[in-house]
C-alpha cells in the first residue's frame, strides 16, 4: 500500500511513533524534577538580590526542558514537533521581550524640564 506522504517514507513527521522510553528513565526524570522543585524553594529563602528571580526562572526552564525532552519525547521525535515547539517558544519570547524592552526604554527622549 502506498504511503500517502513522501515524507512519511523517510521518517515520522508526528513524533515518537515507535520509541519506547524506559520506565527507569521516566522515574529518574520525575525524581530530578522533584529535586529541582526543592532546590528552587530553598533558593528563594536565601537573599541573592536580583539573582533570586534569575535562579527561579533558570530552574523553571530546566524543569520545563526535562519535561519536554523526556516526558513528551522531544528527544526522540522528528523535526516537526521540535520546529513547532521552537516556533512557539520564539513567539512567546518575542512577545514578552519586545513588549518589555519598549516599557523599559520609554523615557529615552527627554521630557520637558531638562
Amino acid at each position: 500500500m502506498a504511503t500517502h506522504s513522501p515524507e512519511t517514507t523517510h521518517g515520522h513527521e508526528g513524533g515518537t511513533a515507535h520509541h519506547v522510553t524506559s520506565s527507569r528513565l521516566l522515574i529518574m526524570t520525575g525524581g530530578a524534577l522533584l529535586v529541582l522543585t526543592v532546590l528552587t524553594v530553598a533558593a528563594s529563602f536565601i537573599d541573592l538580590g536580583a539573582l533570586n528571580d534569575v535562579v527561579a526562572l533558570v530552574i523553571a526552564i530546566t524543569k520545563a526542558l526535562l519535561i519536554i525532552f523526556i516526558f513528551m519525547g522531544l528527544r526522540w521525535s522528528t523535526q516537526i514537533p521540535r520546529l513547532l515547539s521552537l516556533v512557539g517558544l520564539f513567539m512567546l519570547l518575542l512577545l514578552i521581550i519586545a513588549t518589555l524592552s519598549e516599557l523599559l526604554t520609554r523615557v529615552w527622549v527627554p521630557l520637558p524640564g531638562h
Binding site: 500500500m1 502506498a2 504511503t3 500517502h4 506522504s5 513522501p6 515524507e7 512519511t8 513527521e13 508526528g14 516537526i80 516556533v87 512557539g88 513567539m91 518575542l94 512577545l95 519586545a98 513588549t99 524592552s101 519598549e102 516599557l103 526604554t105 520609554r106 523615557v107 529615552w108 527622549v109
Partner: protein
C-alpha cells in the same frame, strides 16, 4: 495499490458531495470538508450583508457634515459592529474557511482534512461566536471601535462589551481549529510524490496563514478575555488611573491584530498565484521565491505590531525599531508583485472573470500597500494616523485586496464547487462595477485623511463634504456591484451550463476530478510526478480529460489543450 485516478464521472448528475445526501441533518452533521465550506460560505455571506448594512449606515450618516440621521451613539455602534463583523466574522474566515476548506484537501490529493470532526466543530464554534455578537447587537450594541481600546472599553463604555468580547474570544477558536487542521493536513496528507516544492502556491499561502493563526489568535483571545474580566472586577489591569497600563493592552491587541491583517491577505495572494498561472498558462515566475515570501510575510508580520502605536506613547527607540521592521515586511510583498507581473510575460492570457478580478487586485493592492509605507514612515504616520488616510489604506487592502481576491477565487472555483458555469458576461460587468464603485468610495478618503479628517467622526468640518459625498455615491455603486454576483451565481445553480472537470485548463489536482467532486474527492489517490503549473503537453498522449491510461497523474501532467472557452465546455 493503484495509483491512477479513474476517469471521473462525466455527467454532473452523477453522485457527488452535493447529492450524496440531501437532508438538513446530513448538512448539519456533515464532516465533508466541501460541505463545511458551503456552510461557511453561507454564514460569512450573511455576516457580510450585516457588516455591509452597518457600512451603509456609516456612509449615509456622513453624507452631510452635521447629519442627524444617526445619534452619536448609534454611529459609534455602527462602525464598531462594522469593523468587528467584517474583520472577525467575515474576512478572517473568508478565504481559509470557504475556499481553503474546499480546495486544500483536493489540491493535496487527500480525501478530507486530517480532522474532519474538528472541522465541523470549527463551524459550530464560529456560529456560537457569531450569535454572541449578534445578541450583543440586539442588546444595544457596542461602541468601542473594533480595537477595544482601554480604559474606554474596560471602565467607560456603557455598552455590551462583554458579549462581543466573548464572541471574538469564541470565534478565535474556530480559526484555531481551521489552522490546526490545515497544518496537520499539509504535513501528513499530501498525495504520493507531492513534495513541498510541488505544492500549489495556494497551499503555501494557507500554510503560512495557518501558522499566523495558530501563533496569534490565542493572544487576542486571552486579551479580550482580560478586558471582559476587568469589566466585571474593575481592577484596572489596563487602566492607568488604577495602576494598569493601556499600552500593555495595545501591545497584546496588536501582537495579534497586525499579523491578522496577513491572515486576511496571505490567502488572497495564494489565490492570485493560482489564477495568474492558470489564465496565462505559465508556471508562476520564481515559484520558490513566491512560496518563501509567504512564509517570510508570516514571520516578519509578527515583528512589526507596534507600528499601530507610534503616537500612543511608546518609547522612541521602539518606534524606530518597529518602523524599520515594518519596511522589511513590505519586501516579500514586493517580491510577489514582481513575480506575478513576470508570470504574464509571453503567456497565453485569457481575460475571464477571475483574471479580471486578479488583475484589479494588483493595481489596488499596490495603492493599499504603498500607503502602508506612508504609515510605516514615522514622520508621515504622526500626521496621518487616526485619519481617514488609514481608513482608506486598509479598505484598499481589505476590500480592494482581500475581497477582490476572494471574489476572484470564488469565480475561479465556482465551477468546481457547483459543477455549473456562471454567466461570464455578468461576471465581467460586475467586476468592472465593483472596481469603479470601490475606487470611488475609498480614493476620496485618502484625500480626506491627508486633509486631516479624523476617523470615527460622527460629524465633520464642512470642507470635507464633497469628498464624503463622492464616497457615499461610490459605496452605492459598490453595493450594487456586490449584489450582482449574488444574483448570477445563484442563477447559475439553476440554469448554468455544466462546467466540466477542468474548464480553465488548470493543472492543480482539484481539477483532475469531476465537478462537483465526489464525497471523497478522488476515486483513487492521485500520484504526482511533476512540478505544479506545468502546462506542457507531455510527450505521451494524455487524453483531454486528463486521464491517461496507466499514466501517473498530477500537477504538471495536466493537459494543456482543454482550453475551450468556458461557455462551450458543456460537451466534455
Amino acid at each position: 495499490m493503484a495509483s491512477v485516478a479513474l476517469p471521473a464521472p462525466r455527467k454532473t448528475t452523477s453522485r457527488n458531495y452535493l447529492n450524496a445526501a440531501t437532508t438538513v441533518k446530513s448538512w448539519l452533521l456533515t464532516t465533508d470538508h466541501k460541505r463545511i465550506a458551503i456552510l461557511y460560505l453561507i454564514s460569512i455571506s450573511v455576516m457580510f450583508v450585516l457588516g455591509g448594512a452597518a457600512a451603509g449606515l456609516i456612509r449615509l450618516q456622513l453624507l452631510t457634515p452635521n447629519n442627524t440621521l444617526l445619534t452619536y451613539d448609534a454611529y459609534n455602534k455602527s462602525f464598531t459592529m462594522h469593523g468587528v463583523i467584517m474583520v472577525f466574522f467575515f474576512l478572517i474566515p473568508s478565504i481559509p474557511a470557504v475556499l481553503g476548506n474546499f480546495i486544500l484537501p483536493m489540491q493535496l490529493g487527500a480525501k478530507d482534512l486530517a480532522f474532519p470532526r474538528l472541522n465541523l466543530l470549527s463551524w459550530y464554534v464560529y456560529m456560537v461566536g457569531a450569535i454572541f455578537t449578534l445578541v450583543a447587537l440586539l442588546w444595544g450594541g457596542v461602541d468601542t471601535g473594533w480595537t477595544f481600546y482601554t480604559p474606554y472599553s474596560t471602565q467607560y463604555s456603557a455598552t455590551a462589551v462583554i458579549p462581543v468580547g466573548l464572541g471574538v474570544f469564541i470565534v478565535g477558536f474556530s480559526s484555531i481549529l481551521t489552522g490546526l487542521n490545515f497544518i496537520a493536513t499539509i504535513h501528513t496528507m499530501r498525495a504520493p510524490g507531492l513534495t513541498w516544492f510541488r505544492l500549489p502556491l495556494f497551499i503555501w499561502a494557507l500554510y503560512a496563514t495557518s501558522l499566523v493563526i495558530m501563533l496569534g489568535t490565542p493572544v487576542i483571545s486571552i486579551t479580550v478575555l482580560m478586558v471582559a474580566i476587568d469589566r466585571i472586577l474593575h481592577v484596572g489591569i489596563f487602566d492607568p488611573a488604577l495602576g494598569g497600563d493601556p499600552l500593555l493592552f495595545q501591545h497584546l491587541f496588536w501582537f495579534y491584530s497586525h499579523p491578522a491583517v496577513y491572515i486576511m491577505i496571505l490567502p488572497t495572494m495564494g489565490v492570485i498565484s493560482e489564477i495568474f498561472a492558470t489564465f496565462s498558462r505559465k508556471p508562476v515566475f520564481g515559484y520558490p521565491f513566491v512560496a518563501m515570501s509567504s512564509l517570510a510575510i508570516a514571520i516578519l508580520g509578527f515583528l512589526v505590531w507596534a507600528h499601530h502605536m507610534f503616537v500612543a506613547g511608546i518609547s522612541a527607540q521602539s518606534a524606530l525599531i518597529f518602523s524599520f521592521l515594518t519596511y522589511l515586511v513590505a519586501i516579500p510583498s514586493a517580491v510577489k508583485t514582481f513575480n506575478w507581473t513576470a508570470t504574464l510575460y509571453k503567456g497565453s492570457i485569457s481575460l475571464d472573470t477571475p483574471m479580471i478580478y486578479a488583475l484589479s487586485f494588483i493595481g489596488i493592492f499596490l495603492i493599499g500597500g504603498f500607503t502602508g509605507l506612508f504609515l510605516a514612515s514615522l514622520g508621515t504616520d504622526i500626521h496621518l494616523t487616526m485619519t481617514y488616510f488609514i481608513v482608506a489604506h486598509f479598505h484598499y487592502i481589505m476590500v480592494g485586496g482581500a475581497i477582490f481576491g476572494f471574489l476572484a477565487g470564488l469565480h475561479y472555483w465556482w465551477p468546481k464547487m457547483t459543477g455549473k458555469m456562471y454567466s461570464e458576461f455578468w461576471g465581467r460587468i460586475s467586476s468592472v462595477v465593483i472596481f469603479i464603485g470601490f475606487n470611488m468610495t475609498f480614493f476620496p478618503q485618502f484625500i480626506a485623511g491627508y486633509w486631516g479628517m479624523p476617523r470615527r467622526y460622527h460629524t465633520y468640518a464642512p470642507e470635507y463634504q464633497i469628498l464624503n459625498v463622492l464616497s457615499t455615491a461610490g459605496a452605492t455603486i459598490l453595493a450594487v456591484g456586490y449584489i450582482l454576483p449574488v444574483i448570477y451565481l445563484l442563477a447559475s445553480l439553476r440554469n448554468g451550463k455544466p462546467a466540466g472537470n477542468n474548464p480553465w485548463g488548470a493543472t492543480t489536482l482539484e481539477w483532475q476530478t469531476s465537478s462537483p467532486p465526489p464525497t471523497y474527492n478522488f476515486l483513487k489517490t492521485p500520484i504526482v510526478t511533476d512540478a505544479v503549473y506545468h502546462f506542457h503537453l507531455p510527450a505521451g498522449d494524455i487524453a483531454v480529460d486528463g486521464h491517461g491510461d496507466g499514466q501517473a497523474l498530477g500537477p504538471g501532467s495536466a493537459p494543456a489543450t482543454p482550453a475551450l472557452p468556458a461557455k462551450t465546455t458543456d460537451e466534455r
